[in-house]
Amino acid sequence: MSETSGAALEISGLYKNFGALRVTQDINLTLQPGARHALIGPNGAGKTTLVNQITGVLRPDKGSIRLFGTDITGATPERRVALGVVRTFQIISLFLRLTVAENIGLSVAASRSLDAKPWGSLRDDDRVVEGVAELLERLGLTGVAHRKVSELGYGQRRLVEIALALALKPKVLLLDEPAAGVSSRDLGLLLEILNRLPKEIAVLVIEHDMSLVFRFAQRITVLVGGAKLVEGTVDEVRNNQQVRDVYLGRRADV
Amino acid sequence: MGDFLSTWLALTFNGIAFGMILFLISSGLTVTLGVMRLVNLSHCGFAMIGGYIAMAAVDYLGFGLLASIPVAIVGTMLIAAVIERTLFQWTYGITELGQILMTFGLTLVMVAMCNILFGPLLHALPVPHWLTGNFQGGGIVISVYRCFLIVISGLIAIGIWYVVERTDFGARLRASVDNPRMARCAGINVRQIFSLTFTVGCGLAAVGGVLGTQMLPLEPYYALDYLILTLIVVATGGLGSLQGSFYAALLIGVIDTWGRYILPAGGGFVMYAIVLAILLARPQGLFARA
């Protein structure tokens, strides 16, 4: 049983090497339910590698990952999704030639195990359709439900990505660079959506866009060279000299 | 030497000769697949075209077998270059299935054209006088021609090895096979390398087609008959791996020859079973690079 009571996600002593390259060095990270946490760091700091270990795509060499006290260090990616660890992708990965409704519908159906029936239709399943309707509304996508994802602009595809993730009823949501490629016009909408995420979900955002990080996160972890440099509240991190030197130093508009 | 042993030795020898021809024909295909990821079902057709050009040279120009080889090579390479510049442009950027269907269509066109030009009968190119007959010794009988085949193919294989491993061009070729994108970034003109390699590969296939008519006789359906065998060699050896093609071709040539001796009717079964096992154990082929 974990000492930190009720922690949604608890990463302890995580290590990962790619040959001689140490990509993850002694990472300890705890997310409480409802956390709004950001993971920042220069390119190559090992942020995505860490997320891959959390989702089960990569196996850590040492250390453990616990979800509400349950050890999931050895669980398959599919199992972790079922347990509530969900991620979005930096490079948008959707079902391009299916409609927005179908994309979200697949996710909703998968999360409720309604997707394997070889007869009937999703469109006739009220639970699925209502789930889709709710997500469309939450993300402001109701108007494009009919459109194929391939017809959507980048910002809207981002929102569909997030809808897909939310449909899986995550307990821990990992957003991998949600602002990447999003125009400054759509950024405001994205931030609004992020701030409206369900309160119980623990959210970890990997981001380079500092404006988003500072307006969204409550706590920030700074990763450099695979190891944790600093962790603290937004103000603590902003004012930390080490962080400034390593990462924020050059930016004038911080 | 025991009767049994001499039979097996003769079979192995014939298998190696067969394998060498397979290698010549499939060497071009493995590079095509490796560099451009193009599933080219028409590759065997170029071997066929080479064989027929040689036959035309023999029948209408009175050339001997050996003299017809350069004619076949040049003729096939010209045709290959033209096709590459025109039809193959349509194959880039479409799915594997599309490439398969399109190149299969090309193969059908080749089959039809060869029939129109040369008729449907089987042809084998005449073996030069000084290469007929057999070596006999210690109870083993081996055909002189097949010896010649193995030697020539071996020399060509060494030549290929030298170009690929020791020349500048070869280095660029290997880079293109390993990682086309990186190669482009490094300033290598991958398209040009492909065009060149493809054309040369078809030339090599033509050599295989010309030399191998004793074992693989010429007829319009040649392009289809040996297609599966060629694909199997490439898939088992590993896409893009000339070394893999070489060993796979020899392996398959020998296994197929033994198999057909043991079970004349269903001898292919053994070969397919082994191929299946290899592909299941190592889906990327025995010597895959990319």
Binding site: P77, S93, L98 | G105
Partner: protein, 342 residues
């Protein structure tokens, strides 16, 4: 969640319609009218017509695997042949009752799919194609060798098929055969439609679009594809069983990649991933190949080769995809060769 206010109700209906589905339309009706009409209009060609119907069924089965599942197999002939041999066996050794023969063909072929599916679906691309070829070739060689069981090169023959449902005798004019095959095709089509419209069907389309994403939705994609593959195989087995029953003969030429190749050509002509693409494409192909090959097989090959090249280049979605390609109206689903994935 009961916020069913008047505003949300039409919205829900709106969302429902955002899910694509094969709806019965004029084309579906038209096909069956033509099929039934052919019986009366060209009664002397019923033998060809029966072959066409069987091949449509076979092509339909391939469309499930290739067009919907994205499983590029050249081994569909294996199911066809195995189903045919199983039905012939059944007629020779158990009973000539036809419908049970179909069931046997479907079961045996389905079993083959279930057994080979996990093996085949572990791979992709050229390796997958080669493995399906290897398996088909192995079966072919086995059939040729095991003369006592399969009749070798001569195949199995000499069995008598009893009247369908005890009422309709098979005659030399293929009258019963035609309607028998038409009925079976209709049933198969209905099954295919149900599966394609189902949640399972949508999942399979999703797997084809983006298998990685599908896995990260928690779906066990390989199992889905194995299921689809088995269904496709069983359907091809039924086609083989029909051939065995209707022509009274089954031979080793069913276990080749040419059989699959022909069906693929039918699909490129008709269109992948649209159920009636199989109808149009297979009908066109087999009617033409029958007529043209009789005149001059090599000229037929030439024409076919050119047609293939041009089709892939200019009409990758087949004839049924042409309206969409020409932007004549907004089609609901893209498929086939334009796999421009993420």
């Amino acid at each position: 969640m009961a916020t069913a206010s008047p505003e949300t109700r039409p919205a829900i209906a709106n969302i429902r319609s955002a899910f694509a589905a094969h709806r019965i339309n004029l084309v579906d009706v038209g096909i069956w009218v033509v099929a039934i009409g052919a019986y009366f209009v060209v009664p002397t060609y019923l033998s060809l017509g029966t072959t066409v119907l069987i091949m449509i069924l076979f092509t339909l089965s391939l469309d499930l695997a290739v067009g919907y599942g994205g499983i590029d197999t050249l081994g569909q002939g294996a199911f066809y042949g195995v189903g045919g041999y199983a039905a012939a066996f059944w007629a020779l050794n158990v009973t000539g009752e036809p419908i049970s023969g179909l069931v046997v063909g479907a079961l045996v072929a389905g079993l083959l799919g279930l057994v080979t599916g996990p093996i085949i679906l572990r791979t992709r691309g050229l390796t997958l194609i080669m493995i399906t070829l290897a398996i088909t070739s192995m079966l072919h060689e086995f059939a040729v060798t095991a003369k006592s069981v399969t009749g070798g090169d001569d195949g199995l023959t000499g069995y008598h098929i009893l009247p369908v449902l005890g009422l309709f005798h098979f005659d030399i004019y293929f009258r019963t055969a035609y309607f028998y095959c038409l009925a079976v095709l209709a049933v198969a089509f209905v099954v295919a439609r149900i599966v394609v419209n189902s949640p399972f069907g949508l999942t399979v389309r999703g797997i084809r679009e983006n298998p990685v994403r599908m896995r990260l939705l928690g779906v066990r994609t390989r199992n889905r594809l194995i299921g689809l593959f088995t269904l496709s195989g069983a359907m091809a087995g039924v086609a083989g069983a029909l051939t065995a029953q209707v022509t009274g003969l089954i031979g080793v030429d069913t276990l080749t990649f040419l059989v699959s190749g022909n069906a693929l050509i039918g699909l490129i002509l008709g269109g992948f991933g649209r159920l009636y693409g199989a109808f149009l494409g297979a009908a066109l192909f087999y009617i033409f190949s029958d007529r043209a090959a009789a005149i001059n097989p090599f000229h037929w090959l030439l024409g076919l080769g050119i047609l293939l090249i041009l089709s892939v280049r200019f009409m990758p979605n087949g004839l049924t995809g042409l309206p969409e390609q020409l932007h004549l109206f907004r089609g609901k689903q893209g498929s086939g060769l334009d796999r421009s994935g993420p």
